[in-house]
């Protein structure tokens, strides 16, 4: 039976993993699309207050990884969510290709650093920060953020990191716990060798 387990792992992501990843991300992509209005609603509150909800745009990567727990899904999720925006013909379409790949990679690398074995809220929060770091790279080339006044640069990215921790870490974790209670995640997660061993008894 452990032979079978190995073979399954070697094949990588199955169509069902991918379809679940992409569908959840596409739904989140629609949320992302409308999130920009929440984002602009917050702006008048105080300057750069909109950064406090920025973490929402990284949610797909951590939420889907916590649900499916397989390598690669965090990156695919973020790209799939951005693809909706492009499909809708959003004005931000073409930049999002770059942003989504780097954000997804940022989250993916954090999960990889824990060898894809840790699924806690704090690891998800770290992955959120990873995604935020990924989003800074295009900001440098596109928005010239290095030419902001230093206090603004610091405030901006600290707020972005906080929102990533709250939204991608604790909110995503809470949501996944609630979804786990419905039992659907058993459909998706990799089967443990222990489960196969139990069959042999």
């Amino acid at each position: 039976m452990s032979e079978m387990a190995k073979r399954q792992a070697a094949r990588g992501l199955k169509l069902s993993d991918l379809l679940v990843t992409v569908l959840i991300s596409v739904v989140l992509g629609v949320v992302y699309h409308f999130w920009s209005s929440v984002y602009s609603l917050l702006s008048p509150l105080f300057f750069q207050a909109d950064e406090l909800v920025y973490g929402m745009w990284f949610l797909a990567s951590t939420l889907v990884f916590l649900l499916i727990r397989k390598p690669g899904v965090a990156l695919i999720a973020e790209v799939a969510a951005a693809h909706v925006e492009i499909l809708f013909g959003s004005e931000w379409g073409i930049q999002l290709v770059l942003y989504s790949v780097l954000q997804g990679l940022g989250a993916e690398l954090v999960f990889a650093a824990f060898r894809y074995r840790k699924f806690s809220a704090s690891v998800a929060a770290l992955a959120g920060i990873g995604a935020a770091i990924g989003s800074i790279i295009p900001d440098f080339f596109y928005g010239y953020v290095q030419d902001y006044a230093p206090w603004l640069l610091t405030a901006k990215y600290i707020m972005r990191a906080i929102s990533s921790v709250v939204i991608c870490g604790y909110f995503a974790y809470g949501l996944v716990k609630a979804v786990e209670a419905t039992g659907v995640t058993a459909l998706l997660r990799p089967v443990d060798p222990k489960d196969y061993a139990a069959l042999d008894k």
């Binding site: 992501l13 199955k14 169509l15 069902s16 991918l18 379809l19 679940v20 990843t21 992409v22 569908l23 959840i24 991300s25 596409v26 739904v27 629609v30 602009s40 300057f47 750069q48 649900l67 695919i76 799939a80 693809h83 492009i86 499909l87 013909g89 959003s90 004005e91 931000w92 379409g93 073409i94 930049q95 290709v97 770059l98 295009p138 080339f141 596109y142 928005g143 010239y144 290095q146 030419d147 902001y148 006044a149 206090w151 603004l152 909110f171 949501l175 609630a178 979804v179 419905t182 659907v184 995640t185 459909l187 998706l188």
Partner: protein, 269 residues
């Protein structure tokens, strides 16, 4: 007005006939070039020329293109303001508290705004001339994208209206039971739980069922397969790089001959 009819081009230009996969690659190369443009005059002419291309090659009536690019104003303003107000610069024009408008930060803000507009028109030029299904079929056939990825994306887009329907059903169900989330932040959390959990779990179940059915029909592509929409390269795939090179060269020449701003690099040194 019917949205689908609104978004059907009036004429098919040669841009529509080019291979979507090669068009995507060309657009991404173009994107990198625009991203690394720091010359204000160059980006100005890029923005102008790509908007002209939208009118000329998207195949839509001019009034529709005008309507579609109306939000560009918003894109420009929202991209430019922060840099104008808070950017670094030495030639101070106006200061009030933390706000510092300097000559450098002003032109850098304009540059960012124009760059955003350029990206928006380049992106629209691609989206308005490419159907997403055609793109995925071309990616499978010309770029050897594994079919399981392409079909997951195409199936998910088809499943999206069902999720929307479920959202409406859920809303009505909650309404008829008189369940209303409290106001404020607590309401947001309850609302998320009332909607997100059932929608997520139902989406997972449905996606899983559909995937099992698709695996049974060998959509995961473990064997060589044929395609319902065969795609191929054509001469139009050569025209696109030629067009883009001409446009960029023209923008650069215009920037050199008739610079509206005369600023070679907007970065702070």
């Amino acid at each position: 007005m019917n949205m689908r009819r609104f978004l059907t081009p009036k004429v098919q230009t040669w841009m529509h006939r080019a291979n979507p996969a090669s068009k995507l690659v060309m657009m991404l190369l173009l994107f990198v070039m625009t991203l690394l443009t720091h010359r204000l005059d160059f980006i100005f002419y890029q923005a102008v020329l790509f908007i002209v291309l939208l009118f000329a090659l998207s195949g839509y009536q001019p009034w529709k293109v005008a309507l579609i690019i109306l939000p560009f104003v918003l894109v420009f303003v929202s991209s430019a303001t922060t840099m104008i107000l808070f950017g670094k610069g030495d030639t101070l024009w106006w200061a009030w508290g933390l706000l510092h408008i300097s000559e450098e930060s002003f032109y850098r803000g304009i540059h960012i705004g124009l760059k955003a507009v350029t990206f928006a028109s380049q992106g629209l030029l691609f989206v308005l001339t490419t159907s997403s299904v055609a793109l995925f079929y071309a990616l499978m056939q010309q770029m050897k994208l594994p079919p399981k990825y392409a079909y997951s994306f195409m199936a998910s887009v088809r499943l999206l209206p069902m999720v929307w329907e479920e959202l409406l059903v859920r809303r009505n169900a909650l309404l008829i039971r008189g369940l209303r989330p409290p106001r404020g932040l607590a309401g947001l959390a309850t609302g998320a739980k009332l909607y997100a959990v059932p929608l997520l779990s139902q989406s997972i179940r449905r996606a899983h069922r559909v995937a099992v059915a698709m695996e049974a029909k060998a959509f995961d592509g473990s064997r060589p397969r044929t395609y319902f929409y065969p795609t191929a390269y054509s001469r139009y795939d050569l025209w696109i790089p030629v067009l883009l090179i001409i446009v960029q060269a023209l923008a650069y020449t215009l920037a050199m001959l008739y610079p509206p701003f005369g600023i070679a690099d907007v970065r702070y040194h």
